[in-house]
Symmetry: C2
Subunit: 159 residues, 2 copies
DNA sequence: CCTTGAACTCAAGTTCACTTCAACTTGAAC
DNA sequence: GTTCAAGTTGAAGTGAACTTGAGTTCAAGG
């Protein structure tokens, strides 16, 4: 590996659009790797840029850092994704986006019916009911999937 | 106001589905009001239940506490929403949901085209580009509206 | 050699929407 | 009058995904 091919922090930061602090954070979290110069500064391989692009795409889809780490780890060799990998992964994400879209549509149609009634009833109005609205209807019928609920801090599965 | 008509914390909590701590928080944030018993305990008017229903509906749509406060304050009289208010407001929210749905659709179709190319190019691929992707196209062309971006902690409008 | 900007580390801070805790008081029932 | 669930306060904690700051070192140019 010719050291001449390695890129310093500033280069990676400006080209990827991530702040240096974010990149350091990703390295600490094990999402990317870096070599070190004699004096301890990070030197990145060019492939880190693709990995960062992948990270941005994943986070746009709504994946957490943990999920992104898993997704990257699932790649054989833990390598930067190739075209074939990307094909498979993006199908997976597409489904996730479809689910999010469907959830918002459900919310909207609930809202539509509430325009008519103007009720906001605590009992019957799915829109204002507590967390488990539209249960009963079986799984999949929820208005919002877990991935779209507010990431409430210390909430554990209610007893 | 007959004190007999006022509800204690536990009642409001169980009927609204909010934890007592959440209700206290909302009061501290000025979203709801409460009378006090002689000994300093909260006593709520029945209308607080409707206000809480409104708060839940709003937060399901994705409004922040600040936005909910504003929305409530916009009601003439600062009263609990009537059917007519609800009609107007829910139209507003419907538009917001439509925007979110459209954003996800854009993201998905970007993903579709990326399945073909497998590029994840930092320059041309809208999916992996930094925050200002698809700018140039004018306002409204962004893949994700601000309301759907990750609420990045200490991010101020970049200079 | 000297300067200067880029980079380093580590700890602590930030936002949001609450929750949890500790220590104490109320109030309805018996 | 005693009991005890239910209520009170204020401070501190939570989790995610970084950022900020302080203090120090690196590396490239002149």
């Amino acid at each position: 590996m010719d050291p001449r091919d390695l890129l310093p922090m500033g280069e990676i930061s400006s080209r990827s659009g991530f702040a240096a602090s974010a990149i350091r954070y990703y390295e600490a979290e094990g999402l990317i790797e870096a070599h070190r110069s004699g004096g301890g500064q990070r030197r990145f391989e060019r492939s880190a840029l693709r990995r960062l692009a992948f990270i941005r795409a994943a986070s746009n889809v709504g994946l957490s850092i943990d999920e992104i780490r898993e997704e990257l780890a699932r790649l054989p060799d833990n390598r930067t994704p190739t075209k074939a990998d990307w094909h498979r992964i993006s199908k997976h994400w597409r489904a996730r986006l479809d689910e999010q879209i469907a959830a918002l549509e459900r919310l909207k149609s609930g809202l539509d019916s509430c325009i008519g009634c103007g009720c906001l009833s605590l009992r019957s109005c799915a829109f204002s009911n507590a967390g488990d609205w539209a249960a009963e209807q079986g799984p999949g019928a929820r208005l919002l999937p877990d991935s779209m609920r507010k990431p409430h801090p210390t909430r554990r599965t209610a007893g």
